[in-house]
């Protein structure tokens, strides 16, 4: 790995101060746990003029009750998220997803906001400077061709955060803070379908908090992922499912996917399962629907067809488990 490039390190005490620092320096990047960003800095992928360390900002570390739901500070570390009793009870998929990120040591300092803003990943991108240089670089960084799909001008690098799909099925909104003040948007709108520019954050904006709605609290949900190393790894494919049943039929079924494209997303058309029982045939249907909408490219060492099949099967398995457990 490369040695560290030169940069300034700032440690603001409040969100407003952090936003002010970012506004004053276009080359600055926000830093939280650093499990993703510091690796990329060391690989020469990121060359920030300054890093704005958010870890001393108390406001970002709170978990509060909010109108029957929860407001999760973006600086909450994944371990605390995974162990939070309210979250485990009311939004199980979110706690399970937090527990599925990387390994236990990472989760001690990697944060919720960092996992949502994780850079997209690709076999041709997450490499050392000399490896990328020797292989002609790639479209996402310094190169002119995408080595995954050489004829196109689209970057297929995959979003690989685990928590986002779990938040998507829970109807989460994110609270953003920037030079123009605060705004709140549905989580889905935080992401663009573009591996080179997957975050719809404006210049100098940061994720301050995540809001989970009270209306969804208690709806059974779960998260599962496939990975190369079971102990510590990014997902090859990850699925979150939330399932509300009523009188033996489906009231609401939502499936969120990650790591099968440049952004996490909700599977479309799951409304068609409403009011019918979730039997074997319906579950097979769901599996095929997920498989068709998951479109991973060759961004990992594992073949795309496998990741597509895994995404479908993970969703089916989770939905079957939730259906079996519902009264």
């Amino acid at each position: 790995m490369e040695y560290m490039p030169e940069f300034r390190l700032c440690a603001p005490a409040s969100v407003d101060e952090a936003v002010g620092l970012a506004a004053a320096d276009a080359g600055a990047r926000y830093l939280s746990g650093g499990t993703d960003l510091v690796v990329n800095v060391r690989r020469g992928i990121e060359r920030p003029a300054a890093l704005i360390d958010l870890s001393a900002i108390g406001e970002l570390k709170d978990i509060d009750e909010d109108d029957g739901g929860l407001r999760l500070g973006a600086g909450v570390v994944l371990r605390d998220l995974a162990e939070n009793e309210t979250l485990r009870r009311d939004f199980a998929a979110v706690a399970e997803a937090a527990l599925a990120v990387a390994g236990p040591t990472h989760r001690e300092y990697a944060t919720l906001g960092g996992n949502l803003c994780l850079d997209t990943r690709c076999l041709f991108y997450n490499q050392s400077e000399w490896w990328r240089g020797a292989n002609d670089y790639c479209l996402k960084k310094e190169g002119e061709t995408c080595h995954v799909a050489p004829k196109g001008s689209f970057c297929f690098a995959a979003f690989s955060g685990d928590v986002a799909p779990a938040l998507l099925v829970s109807g989460a909104e994110v609270e953003l803070a920037g030079p123009e003040g605060r705004r709140r948007i549905p989580l889905a709108e935080l992401y663009n379908d573009d591996g080179m520019d997957h975050l719809a954050l404006k210049a100098g904006e940061l994720v301050a908090a995540v809001h989970l709605p009270g209306a969804v609290a208690g709806v059974p949900s779960a998260y599962a992922k496939a990975r190369v190393r079971g102990s510590i790894d990014f997902p090859l494919a990850g699925a979150a499912v939330a399932l509300a049943m009523k009188g033996g039929g489906v009231e609401d079924l939502r499936v969120g996917l990650t790591a099968v494209g440049p952004r996490p997303f909700l599977v479309e058309d799951t409304e068609r399962f409403a009011d019918a029982p979730l039997d074997g045939a319906a579950l097979d249907d769901l599996r095929e629907m997920v498989r068709a909408q998951a479109q991973p490219m060759r961004t990992t060492t594992v073949a795309p067809w496998y990741r597509r099949r895994v995404a479908g099967n993970l969703a089916r398995r989770l939905a079957a488990g939730l259906a079996a457990a519902s009264p």
Binding site: M1, M4, L51, A102
Partner: protein
């Protein structure tokens, strides 16, 4: 850019002028001369550089030294008790939890973090909370036995 880093390192307060881009692992090894903390993969994948920051395990290769302003950092060197090995170190020694020894400081610091939170861990607790640490020699069974032996020795 450089700034003065004040922190408590292995129980002692100290201040050093460090570059903004210095990693904690380089600070520990090059400035504080504590070479027990190892550099393995350089990217958070192997756990050899694990230290405790405010009592919680953390990769010193992915942590900026400047981000430890005012914090408590503990390395493998902090464990010895009056020149003798601590229970965890003795466990690794006696149960053959260390072979080549390169992963051992990180393993022990991850285990130290575990035992402080969970003094009587089961096998699954040990596996789950040390999953960020890779060992290429032992096959892990001896490491689990080492942590259990230390936990037994420390039990009241």
């Amino acid at each position: 850019m450089e700034s003065t880093l004040h922190l408590t390192l292995n129980g002692r307060r100290r201040g050093d002028l460090v570059p903004d881009n210095m990693l904690l692992v380089d600070y520990l090894r090059e400035v504080a001369a504590l070479t027990g903390t190892k550099i393995g993969c350089d990217g958070g994948e192997c756990g050899a550089c694990t230290v405790l920051v405010d009592g919680r395990p953390r990769h010193s290769c992915l942590t900026l030294a400047g981000a430890c302003q005012g914090r408590h950092v503990e390395t493998i060197e902090s464990l010895e008790e009056g020149g003798r090995m601590a229970a965890l170190q003795r466990g690794f020694h006696e149960k053959l939890g260390a072979q080549c020894g390169f992963c051992t400081p990180g393993m022990i610091m991850a285990a130290e973090g575990l035992l402080r939170a969970t003094p009587d861990p089961g096998t699954e607790d040990i596996r789950a909370s040390m999953a960020s640490n890779i060992c290429r020699c032992t096959g892990y069974i001896k490491i689990i036995e080492a942590v259990q032996a230390a936990a037994r020795e420390l039990a009241p």
